[in-house]
Every structure is written in structure tokens, then in C-alpha cells.
Symmetry: C2
Subunit: 238 residues, 2 copies
């Protein structure tokens, strides 16, 4: 492994940075030392750099955008490869939270391993992990399913499948949904799952609007929160 070449995986805040930002002093030192990034979204990446007091002119920063849309273009991976090969130290940033979780960034990391570049994951916000630990549900075994199917019938059938899995073993099952469908999926969850299943609704994690509550489906049914346009993580457990 070429120890001189490094790819730092840099987490991004979850929508709201408190005074002083989300990074530790050591992480700030690392971020300030970088001028080359692969980012899920270039504009978010620049905003994040600005917010944490990045000391270099942003015009000097080189960013290759790698996301759900650009990854299909043949030149994107070539640009990423050129940056990883030409530059001794790069950073990889997601749009929010940990890079490579619920985004296609792992393809960049896989390439880094193939190129024998050392990958260094910085710690940081992860709405999935923070939802899980705050849920009070089992954190010794868990599954993250990403997004459930969009179509109602497939989504309901997937929810039934997760309930069976949760009843068979003690794993916590975690999934998410686009903010404009949060109310819809909550309706589906309470209509499909048994009253005795525990559900944690974790909204807007890491922001001043953070809301996290865990109750049995039977209790949720008595009064459902309005989740419209809220970024939510759902955790269920038998």
C-alpha cells in the first residue's frame, strides 16, 4: 500500500451546524490541509468548507461531483481516478452525514482500495446511527434497509416482510423515506404492522427541530405526528 496517498472520508453536518461547527480540532486541521475533493454535491461541499472556516480561496479547490446522476457518465469515474492518482491527499464528502452511507460513494472508496490508496474514515454525524442509539431499541444487532419501495403495495409488502424478520430474531430494522413521503410511509407503517411492534420515529436529527420518540404501534395509532417534509429515520423492533 502506498502510504503516501490518502483518501479522507469526511462527514458533513445534518443540516444545521451549531456555533463552531461539527468538527473536532484534529478534523479541522485535516480538512484545512486538503484542496481536492470528490463530493456528492459540489455546492454543499463548498458551503461546508466555508462554514468551518476553510482558510484557502474556494476557487483553488478542485471538486469532482460523484452522485446518483453523474456516476453513470463515463468521464466521471475517469475524473475521480485522475484525481486519486495525481494528488497525494484527497477528501470524499457526502451531502449530509457519513459519506458512502445511503449514497453511491462506496464506488469511489472501492477504486481507492484498488489503487492501493489508504482510506481514512473520519467520525461524524450519521442520522442512521444517531436514530438507532436514541431509539432505545436493540443496538447489538441491526439492519439498515435504505429506502423502501415507492409503490404503496410493494412498500406494504416490504413492511410485512420486515415484521416477520423482526419477530423471528431480535434485530432492529432501520429504513428511511424522502421527506415529502414521510406522512405516507407512517400511515403505511401503522396500518400494516401489529400493535405490539415498537416503532421509533426520528426526525431532523442534529438540527434544532430534532424529534425522536419510541412507542408501540398501538400507542402511535392514538395520535400520529405530522411529518410532512421532515427528514425521518424509522426503526422497528418486535
Amino acid at each position: 500500500m502506498d502510504q503516501l496517498k490518502l483518501l479522507y472520508l469526511i462527514p458533513v453536518d445534518l443540516g444545521f451546524s451549531p456555533e463552531g461547527g461539527i468538527y473536532s480540532p484534529e478534523q479541522i486541521r485535516i480538512i484545512y490541509s486538503l484542496k481536492h475533493f470528490v463530493a456528492e454535491n459540489a455546492s454543499t461541499a463548498r458551503k461546508m468548507l466555508k462554514k468551518c472556516g476553510y482558510p484557502h480561496p474556494l476557487q483553488e479547490v478542485e471538486i469532482v461531483e460523484f452522485n446518483e446522476h453523474t456516476r453513470a457518465m463515463p468521464e466521471t469515474m475517469a475524473d475521480v481516478k485522475k484525481m486519486l492518482t495525481d494528488v497525494p491527499v484527497c477528501g470524499l464528502m457526502s451531502e449530509a452525514g457519513m459519506p458512502c452511507v445511503a449514497d453511491p460513494g462506496h464506488e469511489v472508496v472501492r477504486l481507492a482500495h484498488e489503487l492501493k490508496i489508504k482510506v481514512v474514515p473520519l467520525h461524524g454525524p450519521s442520522s442512521i446511527m444517531q436514530a438507532l442509539v436514541a431509539s432505545g431499541l436493540n443496538g447489538q444487532q441491526f439492519v439498515f434497509h435504505g429506502y423502501l419501495p415507492v409503490k404503496t403495495e410493494f412498500r406494504k409488502s416490504k413492511l410485512r416482510e420486515l415484521q416477520v424478520q423482526a419477530q423471528k430474531s431480535n434485530y432492529t430494522h432501520i429504513f428511511m423515506e424522502a421527506p415529502y413521503r414521510s406522512n405516507q410511509i407512517l400511515q403505511d407503517i401503522v396500518s400494516v404492522l401489529s400493535d405490539l411492534i415498537s416503532l421509533c420515529v426520528a426526525c431532523e436529527i442534529g438540527t434544532p427541530e430534532e424529534y425522536i420518540e419510541t412507542k408501540k404501534i398501538g400507542q402511535w395509532k392514538k395520535s400520529l405526528p405530522d411529518l410532512h417534509k421532515k427528514r425521518c429515520i424509522f426503526c422497528i423492533s418486535a
Copy 2:
């Protein structure tokens, strides 16, 4: 929900704090404001407070130990409940990484939800999440299995089961092992799994000895690293 009562979930470093510690300025402000903690290990918790420049005398800090051993004692949960009820703001700390992941802390959080105490999860180190993102394997769906069975035959049978699951869907499967069994489990992994399975070995995450490498089982077989007494996370994917 009684918004005046708060339980902060506080992550702890993974064995090595760089200069300045792992916390952001906002997190430091929160930690300094606390004098009551539930901790997996009281001595680790005190060390962590000292390391991050905690400004109050440590004798003034009240800590209830809640872990695999004390949780069976009837007075432990009573002590936790008393602290959560009597004090407006408490912290929950694990021995390393995020609280409630791979430790029984979720029982404390469940109680907090029952008592209508607001639970606030701070972001921080998580060897599982950092191993996953640095593995280059799929981070859009994954399973954390905790510890595999100790007995060789059951462990091998579990590994075969995980391989079948990995081949059926695209989920990444993550598990860990006690440091003194790391070489043994690596032997079992390469002896049981097919040459085409991808394996990430992630050791001593967040420390100067960090080592993360992803290769196919067939490639690993050519030369196995010595993992003796190293804290490892393993990720596999078909």
C-alpha cells in the same frame, strides 16, 4: 414530553484521542455542563472527562455503572431510574464509540423514553460505521450482527449462513470479535467463504495503528495479516 429533562448520548473515543480530543466545541460545551452520568465503565468515563478538559472536580461527578455485569443486579436499574428522575440533565457513555451500539445501553434509553425524557444523541466515533464506509462495500443496505458464536462449528455455520444471505441480496454484513480471537476468526472466514466474496478487515479504527483493507477471499488467502490482540471489524459482501 417533559422538555426540561434531557439524556445526552455521548460517544467516547476509540482508544486514542488526538490533540484537542474528539469533540466539537458545541459537544464540549454540553459535556462540561453535565455532572451526572450513566456509564458502561466508570473509570473509562472519568478518563474521558479528564482528557477533554472537564472543568469540575471529578469527585463531584456522579456515575451509575450500567453494563453486561451490573445490569442483572436489581439495584442498578433502580439507581439509573433515580438519577434520570431526580436530575434534569444526564449523560450516557459507552466504553468506546457510540453508546447503545454493541452494548446494553439501549435499556437505559428505553427507560428514558418511558419516563418521557428527551433523548439527544451526539455524533461521534463508531468503529462499525467507520469500517463500513472505509470498506468500499455497499453502504446503502447493511446488517450489523454483533459478535459471531464463540464455538468454531457454530461460528463456521453462521459464516456460511451470512454468505448465503450476501449472495441472495446486495447487503453488506458486518460483525466483530474479541481481540484475542481475531486471528482465529480470520482463519475461519477464509476457510469457509468462497474465493469471490469481498472481505474488509478493519483494525484499530481511530487509532494510529488503524489498518483497513478490502480484497476478495481468494486474494486474502495468499497472505493473511497478523491480527493478534487487534480490535477488528469484518465486513463481507458478495
